[in-house]
Amino acid sequence: MSDLFTLSVLMGIIVSGIRLATPYLFAAIGETFAQTSGVLNLGVEGIMLMGAFSGFYIASTTGSLWLGLLTAAVVGILMGLLMALVSVTLQAEQGISGIGLSLFGLGLSSLLFEKTIVSVVAISGFQPIRIPILGNIPYIGDALFDHSILVYAAFLLVPLSIYVLNHTPIGLKIRAVGQNPQAADSLGISVAKIRYLTVSFGGMMAGIAGASLSLALIDLFQENMTNGMGYIAVALVYFGGWNPLGVLGGSLLFSFVNAFQLWLQVKGVQIPSNIALMMPYVLTIVALAFAANRARQPTALDKPFERGES
């Protein structure tokens, strides 16, 4: 067992941990916006699948990765709008409609896959870009500055979303709408408009999260390839206490445990693979139970808004 933790092994785990955090970051940051405004979107999983499929399909038929990414974003927005229509305008139970959306995304992406691509083929996805100068630093360069554009974008999303949520008028509106929609309404802020905005933004991010799998990390599409990642992303928002920095921490923790677990299996360490596979999920549940930072929890989360006697 002495060669289990050599430097190169550690590097490998770090690099893949950072790569694997990408889809979680996209999806969970997007979901953070939706939840902060008071909408719990459990449809992330389905949107990711549709994003992964549509991005892959367009990229492989047109040959343009960027067109594929754009398609995934648009599909994500459309599915976000559908979620907003059902939960904001029609005021349906958010948990139920989100699960519905997830099943819809799963079914439709599988069906379309069977009708169009049929068999699992790989494409050449977004390639790693080594950042000049920084990329040449020993070890650190390899670990942090030699990734594809989508990985960088996911990490840049964190400071950007902190800025938007905490330091801009629209961020203030989003927080207010999630904490006290009546108050926001009484100041002439349209609660519905803000929630449509955040939920469709969350949808776009989930679509891109899916595409980051099929166009940059795995470079192929398979039925149900997200395998619960969308639900983990929703949990990471709670874990992160509705704070993008916390979401970043949660995503990294999760992806590192995942990378470690994959490596254990590759190494053939004698633990049943099912147990290894379970590790990140068990960890999430345990962490969720202890990470009880509810200070930023939107009080109006999961509650439809209707103007009336408050």
Binding site: A183, A184, S310
Partner: protein, 514 residues
Amino acid sequence: MSETVANNGHKKLQEVQMVGIVKRFPGVLANDHVDFDVHAGEIHALLGENGAGKSTLMRQLYGLYRPDEGKILINGQERLFYSPEDAIEAGIGMIHQHFMLVPSLTVTENVALGLKSTRLFALDLDKVERRIVDLSEQYGLKIDPKAYIWQLAVGEQQRVEIVKALYRGADLLILDEPTAVLTPQEVEDLFKTLHQMAQVGHTLIFISHKLYEVLSISSRITVLRDGRVVGSRPTEGATRASLAQMMVGRPIIQQYDRPAVVAGEMCLDIQDIYTKSDRGGDALKGVSLSVHAGEILGLAGVSGNGQRELAECLGGLRPVRQGKVILNGKDVTRASPRERIAAGQSYIPEERMREGAIKEFSVADNFVLEDHGKSPYARGIFLNLNAIRSQARSVIDAYNVKTPSLDTPLKNLSGGNIQKLILARELSRHPKVLVASQPTRGVDIGATEYIHLRLLEQRQTGTATLLISEDLDEIRALSDRIAVIYEGKIMGIVYNSETTLEQLGLMMAGVTEK
């Protein structure tokens, strides 16, 4: 006088007219052809009972609801408000009955919410903060712009609401029952601010159902009853009696008869009790009170100082952490609600829809909610439906509960009638001790008067009553002695006949006597 606050570019609001306003809700005609007008510099009181349609009328002026019929004229021009944004733009601000503040945000953030920033992307909270300080100095509204709303007392939150409206350049300010949550001293401060605002040309609409407040603050009064305007007149020359008559539709009792009763033995003895609040921390920190037979002990205090927790402790709904409760000589500190009933206590809870009754059940079922296991309501394991119905019928008649039938679900009754039913149920047991928590909150004046008379009648027959109420008028009208609670401690106990409003107000604000 040029008004510095009108900063959002509208023409100064001189006059508002609401003409023939009709607003319907499913099954309710909330406003029935209401005419209403106000002018700059006026403090106009809108007076009416709960449910008279005051809030509804003003919500239409503020753009929250659209009138079904009628029109709104601002400075003589007809305007349609599609949302509060339009009303704010026209120079109208509203301070709601329930404050519209976001607890997790700071004062400054709450004020800046929904406003355009002067910067390209970022918020300009520093500038907003400076203007808040200016405004609060100009109008004597003390607030700390950096504090979070959840840290503020209710009176402070109200000042934030006023500054919020002024910041948006409100010429007309609607205040919906602004005094309900304040101590007498805070009310005085508020009135000072309002007078000051009226003097510099603001228009104020003051909603209330309290006669003496309306008489002391307003220059004109419009009375609403059942959605209709009963009359509108200058405050000068109006009297309590004449206003009450307009508001209720019949004369009301101005002062109850409270014949002297010699207080008997101690029936309820609360000894130094502590209990936890829902948020952790102690809600009660060593409360001691004793109530004697034939006495009404009033517990006064501003909302949220431990009254609800005390009532729940006495009802057996919340554990007492330390201390003792003795009921008729028996230790009931840890007794269940049922054991307390057996020991001779009746309990009228504050949340009557949550604790005192089941709203989906019928009137008759609610009547036997607690006594269904006892004769004559039960025969073995079966309910004696005939006995239940006949007893319920006679008590309902005696207590004047208006219900279409015994089988009507409780939720279809008005608040006043539900409260009368609970009172009837609790008093029909002839309790030795009665704990009444906010027995007339949200109840119309007619039913309130009726409930008060019944409580006094019980006192006459020797019941020991603990009356917990946030309505100081009610406390003063009924109590023999008055205890004041502040932050979970009793500030003092005084005889009603020997105390003054000022003394009670100071105690309610936590000021101890020297």
